[in-house]
Amino acid sequence: MTNQAMQEPTFLILTALAAGAQHGYGIMTDVARISGDRVRLRAGTLYAALDRLRGDGLIDADREEIVDGRLRRYYRLTPSGADALAAETARMRSNAAVATRRLRKLAST
């Protein structure tokens, strides 16, 4: 794992899966909900990201089902994925804490 900051879509996909296994369309709608409709993933971006995250071992296929004759594959967070999300959350929290402290100081001067 590198020390580079995680890209926002990756962070949001992992956050969506932290609630439990979800299929592609479920992840898409959950990401929109989490980000307050600011980030809307489309299929091309979503599946390029899912393929990369699977390759990196951060998520894995959970189960498959056929609904209305169409394939639905559910994805879940792996332990490595949970660790990566926790590390990114801690990094963002730490940055946010510094920014908050400095803004308070700026406001009080």
């Binding site: 299929h23 592609g24 369309y25 898409m28 489309r42 299929a43 091309g44 971006t45 979503l46 599946y47 390029a48 899912l50 393929d51 990369r52 390759g55 609904v67 209305d68 169409r70 394939l71 639905r72 594959r73």
Partner: protein, 306 residues
């Protein structure tokens, strides 16, 4: 959920932008998501979705695991290259030849095509049975061409001649360092043959009909569009790792040729005198050749230890 079969067919066409391995794994799922996210009654993909699929497909092709340029996929790329160069040039030659058969028409420089085209075409045919002999024949053909070229030089080698020179050299390397054209035939699909033939036919037609009155920027756009179309065609019709390596190999002769077209266009338009071919134009050729050779050598070592 939109169940329109027309829409589904159109989305499936867009999925071709993704590599075959990706489609095998995700195409059905992606169709479910795309149709679920498209309102009822719509028959055409949304523009944003179409662009997203194209960009996602390109990212998947360029960034795919194992699609780096340093693993042991060079023999396949070299094998395809040993066929791609002669097929393209022979198609160009065919157009020129047929054009020359027409009476009262003459085109300066048409014969430039014949010699290198034949020199490129014969060795792969020999290679179908005797690969080493073919590599040697390619080397002899290259040496012969260089000898004739150097003997006729009065001022300076031009970009087209430089392009043939390096094409012949690449052909020698391709035949010597690959399993040969039989392997290429196993990798290439009819679509790959079509892309290469179309590229050659376009080059042949351009040598007759090319509008030399074009401005430099317009000419650059035309050349770039042609190279991009051929590159995209090869990436779509070949396995991605092979296609990327092939593009690197084909870029070696393509760069001086492209520079020559632009230089000649500028000269014809009166924007510049037809100066000697700029020495700097050889720099990318040299860099590309070094990078290809280094990567191929590294891959050779890697495949031995694997």
């Amino acid at each position: 959920m939109n169940d329109s079969p027309v829409l589904e067919r159109r989305y499936r066409r867009l999925l071709v932008w993704f590599p075959a391995e990706h489609r095998r794994e995700y195409a059905e799922e992606m169709m479910s998501v795309l149709l679920a996210a498209t309102p009822e009654g719509r028959r055409w993909p949304r523009l944003a979705d179409a662009l997203d699929l194209m960009m996602g497909g390109l990212r998947a092709r360029l960034g795919r695991r194992g699609a780096g340029l340093s693993d042991a996929r060079w023999p396949d790329a070299l094998a395809v290259c040993s066929v791609a160069l002669p097929v393209t040039l022979l198609a160009a030659l065919a157009v020129n030849y047929l054009w020359n058969l027409l009476p009262a028409l003459d085109f300066y420089g048409v014969s430039d095509f014949y010699l290198p085209a034949l020199a490129l075409a014969l060795p792969p045919l020999i290679a179908l049975r005797h690969r080493r002999a073919a590599a040697l024949a390619a080397l002899v053909a290259a040496a012969w061409f260089w000898f004739l070229l150097l003997g006729s030089l009065t001022v300076w080698i031009d970009g087209l001649e430089a392009s043939y020179c390096v094409a012949l050299l690449v052909q020698v390397i391709a035949l010597a360092g690959s399993p040969g054209p039989r392997r290429a035939a196993a990798i290439m699909t009819w679509k790959t043959w079509l892309v290469l033939s179309a590229a050659g036919l376009t080059m042949g037609a351009a040598s007759i009909y090319y509008p030399w009155s074009l401005g430099t920027w317009e000419a650059a756009a035309v050349v770039f569009a042609f190279l991009a179309a051929v590159g995209a065609g090869l990436v779509v019709t070949l396995p991605t790792p092979t296609a990327l390596r092939l593009l690197l190999l084909l870029a070696v002769p393509a760069v001086p040729c492209a520079v020559w077209v632009l230089q000649f266009t500028a000269a014809m338009a009166g924007n510049a005198s037809q100066d000697p071919f700029p020495v700097l134009a050889f720099l990318p050729v040299l860099l590309l050749a070094c990078a290809s050779a280094a990567a191929a050598w590294q891959a050779r070592g890697g495949s031995k230890t694997a």
